[in-house]
């Protein structure tokens, strides 16, 4: 029965209260552990097509008569357009349409960051569009930009309200502490740099529009573009078959989709608007920089008695302020916690969600600080974490739907126990060490999400839902779930997705929500189809439904009978069995979170500041694992991206003008395959018994979260140096080493004086 409930909806750590209609989710739970298909190591169903170049990305699309767009973007971080002359562009060769600030909301005459879109040109070729855009004449009034986040806080330049939080009494907790550590941590701006740049192709047909777009949220694009264009949503068809990476930056239409839609309308042609690699490095969103001024206090027995922090999020010109303070509030059972988060508005390109926004940054600060505390207390870092284990969500005293972090810690022990062995590898300037960090994050997904399934007379099934596979292997996971429930081989299931006109509403693929939101809907659709098949089989074989089941492509009965599935479905000829499923509600009154721990082994050349990550062991608790192989690849991807964030990636801004200096991939340094360490991934495959018919949580984000802190803590273990800022470049490493030397000298001096 459909039920109307009021519930909290969470995406990327942001909450909203919403009304939703949910269907009951009354299926039996599958037993824990690997099943016939679910939980096995399954290669991607579309792997071969991708490897052969046959998968159709938005970037591959060529429509007849399609035009190409170049966007004129502001070269100034803060300026006013005094005058703009589009005519020289209009008269340029190959140009079909030119639009400026007067024509579209997404084009501005008061840019607030370098890269803010000002005008756009559609031409027969991209080269012509670019040449024409260069001919646009703009007279600028260049204004002084605000670029410093602390200065923005002083001026109260914010994108939203300052967020204050306190539980218990921070000051009192601090007063009762034996040991206090304080430190300032900084994290840099990193850019998603998806292989497929942000892009859309818009095509008006009849009275509606078709939007081909590289997106993480087909239905979000449909809703916001319908709103933008003043169309009924069903007049907006959104298509995304394969996608070359998003990492959080492709949840919305951006500026490029409205630009393409407008130019397509004016020219009555399909129009592509695709960001160049350089635009991608400037105007496609980023993980914003943070400054974290943190305090941790404990009694000598290791009990955390106070945690506090001022968190400055350098959000940029617009965007939202991620919960950088989240880990401090949620990870440990500390009674007295006080945080303030400042969402600084700056004349820098706006942030966009980036794989666990806020928690990646906040975990770096908190987990480094905790290790500094462990050193001061003389307590083993793993022990300290166990001593302050949270048994419930202390922000609102809700129980966890499931939490197996203790099991993660237990499995980390053998790796952690190698500390002396790893340290003993030190030779000459190369010092070896080992460090760990915990992970906490959301990832429970939620309703609404729907799936249909159709089973034909050949006994094969097609899952139909208008979701997207953002490259994470969703198609494969959904096929596994349907195959498991229907008891048919994996290759008898096809998944049709990627088109809002073909299938029901599906969840956003962000916040690690795809599998936990969509998986249960697919299982429930398959169960609906299975129920019908069994009903028919019962009539066909004159048996009771309750003695029948589907297994290995057979209809089986408890008394040992077995018939090929096609013996029943074959009766249908062209008929089909249609199943329908919906995502049930999240467990009421419970907090659904993911957990984990990572152990890093590093080596540091103390003379040149080179940091080499030798190994990362990642142990995560995300409930039931659907595809063991796919999960491993998510862990590896998260860790590799985390290594970039930790060691080499950094957007370089000009401190005077706010111009972005790192616009190409030789200046913006992502890790190469040579930078990838040995990665051991282990998943605590225990279904969450309160969460949906699957007990699965999401895994897209968790693996990137503890990487930086685990590496920084290993560096401390190896060298005694306190890393305070990301990325850990040579200069940061050498600075930290010299500071540690000075500290050591001072300590020895003090000791000698005594």
């Amino acid at each position: 029965m459909a039920r109307l409930i009021r519930t909290e909806k969470e995406v990327e750590g942001r909450y909203e209260e919403v009304w939703i209609v949910v269907d009951e989710d009354a299926l039996d739970r599958w037993p824990a552990g690997p099943l016939t298909t679910v939980g096995q190591r399954v290669p991607r169903v579309d792997g071969l097509a991708r490897a052969r170049g046959q998968a159709l990305f938005t970037a591959d699309l060529q429509l007849p008569g399609m035009l190409h767009t170049a966007v004129l973007r502001s070269p100034y971080a803060r300026a006013r357009v005094i005058s703009i002359d589009l005519e020289p562009a209009r008269s340029a060769f190959g140009v079909r349409a030119v639009i400026g600030p007067a024509d579209l909301d997404q084009l501005t005459d008061e840019p607030g960051y370098v890269g803010h879109a000002v005008a756009a040109v559609a031409a027969d070729t991209f080269g012509q569009a670019q040449a024409a855009a260069e001919r646009i004449v703009v007279e600028w009034d260049v204004l002084e930009p605000l670029l410093d986040a602390d200065e923005a806080v002083r001026q109260e330049s914010f994108v939203s309200d300052v967020a204050n939080y306190e539980r218990g009494d921070f000051e009192r907790g601090l007063g009762g502490a034996d040991v206090v550590v304080e430190a300032e941590y900084r994290t840099q701006v990193v850019v998603h740099n998806s292989l497929e740049t942000h892009q859309a192709v818009c095509h008006w047909e009849d009275d509606g529009i078709t939007i081909y777009i590289s997106t993480q949220y087909i239905w979000g694009i449909r809703a916001s573009m319908a709103d933008h264009l003043g169309l009924p949503p069903d007049k907006v068809r959104v298509i995304c078959h394969a996608m070359g990476g998003g990492f959080g930056a492709k949840n919305s239409p951006g500026d490029y989709t409205p630009i393409a839609a407008e130019l397509a309308k004016r020219t009555a042609r399909p129009v592509r608007c695709a960001l160049t690699r350089r635009e991608e490095n400037v105007a496609a969103g980023n993980r914003n920089a943070t400054i974290q001024r943190l305090t941790a206090a404990a009694t000598t027995d290791g009990t955390l008695v106070a945690l506090g922090g001022d968190f400055v999020n350098a959000v940029g010109y617009s965007g939202w302020s991620a919960t950088t303070e989240g880990p401090m509030k949620m990870l440990y059972a500390c009674d007295n916690v006080r945080t303030t988060q400042y969402p600084a508005k700056l004349n820098l390109p706006p942030m966009a969600a980036f794989r666990a926004p806020g928690f990646v940054e906040g975990t770096f600060g908190l987990e480094c600080l905790l290790d500094e505390l462990a050193v001061k207390l003389g307590i083993d870092p793993l022990e300290l974490r166990r001593m302050n284990y949270a048994d419930s969500d202390r922000t609102d005293d809700r129980p966890f739907s499931s939490k197996n972090l203790a099991e993660c810690y237990r499995r980390a022990e053998p790796h952690w126990a190698k500390r002396d062995e790893v340290r003993a590898r030190s030779r000459g300037p190369w010092k070896h060490g080992i460090g760990l960090a915990s992970q906490i994050w959301y990832g429970g997904g939620g309703p609404p999400s729907y799936a249909w399934i159709r089973v034909g007379s050949d006994g094969r099934a097609q899952v139909v839902t208008a979701m997207q596979d953002i490259g994470t292997g969703t198609r494969t996971a959904m096929a596994q779930i349907a195959a498991e429930e229907l008891g048919i081989p994996l290759d008898h299931v096809q998944v049709s997705l990627g088109d809002s006109a073909r299938g029901p509403f599906a969840s956003i693929s962000a916040g690690s929500s795809t599998v936990p939101s969509m998986g249960p809907a697919v299982r429930s659709a398959a169960a609906d189809a299975k129920r019908q098949i069994i009903e028919i089989a019962a009539q066909r074989f004159h048996l009771e439904e309750r003695v029948l089941d589907l297994r290995d492509g057979q209809i089986v009965s408890t008394d040992g009978g077995s018939w090929p599935l096609t013996e029943v479905t074959g009766l249908l000829e062209s008929g089909q069995i249609l199943g329908q499923g919906a995502r049930g509600p999240n467990p009421a009154g419970m907090q659904v979170l993911t957990f984990g721990v990572q152990v890093a082994e590093v080596a540091v050349d103390v003379e040149t500041g080179e940091v080499r990550v030798d190994k990362i062991v990642a142990i995560h608790d995300v409930g039931r694992v659907i595809n063991a192989l796919g999960a491993e690849s998510q862990v590896e991807g998260g860790i590799i991206q985390g290594i970039g964030h930790t060691l080499s990636e950094e957007r370089i801004d000009d401190p005077a003008t706010g111009s972005i200096l790192s616009r190409t991939l030789d200046a913006y340094r992502m890790p190469t395959i040579a930078d990838v360490p040995e990665i051991v991934s282990e998943l605590v495959d225990i279904p969450d018994e309160h969460l949906t018919n699957l007990g699965s949580k999401g895994l897209g984000e968790p693996p990137i979260i503890p990487v930086a802190a685990a590496i920084a803590n290993a560096i401390r273990d190896a060298t005694g140096a306190e890393i305070r800022s990301l990325p850990i470049t040579r200069e940061e490493m050498l600075r930290a080493l010299r500071e540690a030397e000075a500290r050591e000298k001072e300590r020895r001096g003090a000791a000698a004086a005594v």
Binding site: P429, E607, T608, G609, E610, L647, S648, I652, D653, D654, P655, A656, S659, L661, S662, R663, D666, A667, R669, P671, T672, A674, D675, T729, R730, E731, L734, R735
Partner: protein, 277 residues
């Protein structure tokens, strides 16, 4: 734009100058043209004109870095410098001649800021983003020369043969001045044909990078020993490849606030390079 394919050095040099440029592998020139940093209406492809391959101690300027990194006969410093430069794809296209003539990676320069080296008044790096910049010879332009190979050739005491002259590789480079902002002494219609090496008793190249591969040198150190004499040259520390007359010169470095760490790295790598040979 026109593409010429001359078949003799004379024909090629005749076509050069006046807005035309020599094209070797194109890995540097093509991006510069695309970004509007080099204006050229004619490209003169020099593939059939400039020698390619190694004969004894002579290296054709058209030899690719990929060919050199696999050559067991050339001194180790050069082989290592080639192997650690750029990426496999770039090394397959990029020639040693083109590598010596690559422009700075200074982001201000590459983005077309009207900076001193571009003929303007100010060096924006001096008060700007400067972690990749110079620690020597940086009073006018603080850019860091990106060529690993040039540092190796400098330490190896190589000489160049061009269509006009023969000279030490050190003389290919000059610090830019107010009157002449060029960093090389090559005439617009002059082609490098060959590089002549002297064979050291031992040599090596050590490179500090921001990641393990495919990264310009933060600091590159080439060292070559000829009998009792050791020659050391650095990449990534000055607007041109920098010969280090003695290790003590490192004490005279003039780093910017953001580049002091390079001196520290150079010290360690120079010591290691000397120990290694």
């Amino acid at each position: 734009m026109e593409l010429l394919r001359p078949s003799s050095p004379e024909e090629a040099t005749g076509a050069l100058g006046n807005g035309s440029r020599a094209l070797a592998g194109g890995t540097e020139l093509v991006p510069l043209i695309r970004d509007g940093l080099v204006k050229a209406d004619t490209l003169v492809e020099i593939r059939d004109v400039v020698p390619r391959g190694v004969t004894g101690t002579r290296i054709g300027a058209g030899t690719t870095l990929a060919e050199l990194e696999l050559d067991g006969e050339i001194p180790q410093a050069l082989r290592e410098a080639c192997a650690q430069a750029a990426s496999p794809q770039l090394r397959s296209m990029g020639t040693i001649g083109g590598n010596l003539l690559q422009a700075t990676r200074c982001w201000y320069w590459r983005l077309g800021f009207d900076c001193w080296l571009h003929g303007g008044e100010t060096c924006f790096a001096r008060d700007g983003a400067q972690r990749e910049h110079a620690v020597f010879g940086n009073d006018k332009c603080a850019s860091a020369h990106p060529s690993d190979i040039a540092a190796a050739l400098l330490a190896l005491g190589a000489t160049l043969r061009t269509t006009r002259r023969e000279f030490a590789v050190a003389e290919l480079y000059r610090l830019p001045t107010d009157d002449d902002r060029n960093v090389t002494t090559l005439a617009p219609d002059e082609l490098i044909l060959e590089i002549e090496l002297t064979t050291p008793d031992a040599s090596t190249y050590l490179k500090a990078m921001d990641r393990r591969k495919w990264s310009f040198p933060i600091v590159g150190v080439a060292a070559a020993r000829f009998g009792g004499e050791t020659r050391i040259a650095l990449a990534g520390v000055a607007p041109i490849p920098w010969l280090l007359d003695s290790v003590a010169i490192l004490d005279e470095a003039t780093p910017l606030p953001g580049t002091g760490y390079k001196v520290e790295i150079a010290r360690a790598l120079v010591r290691r390079a000397i120990e290694a040979i």
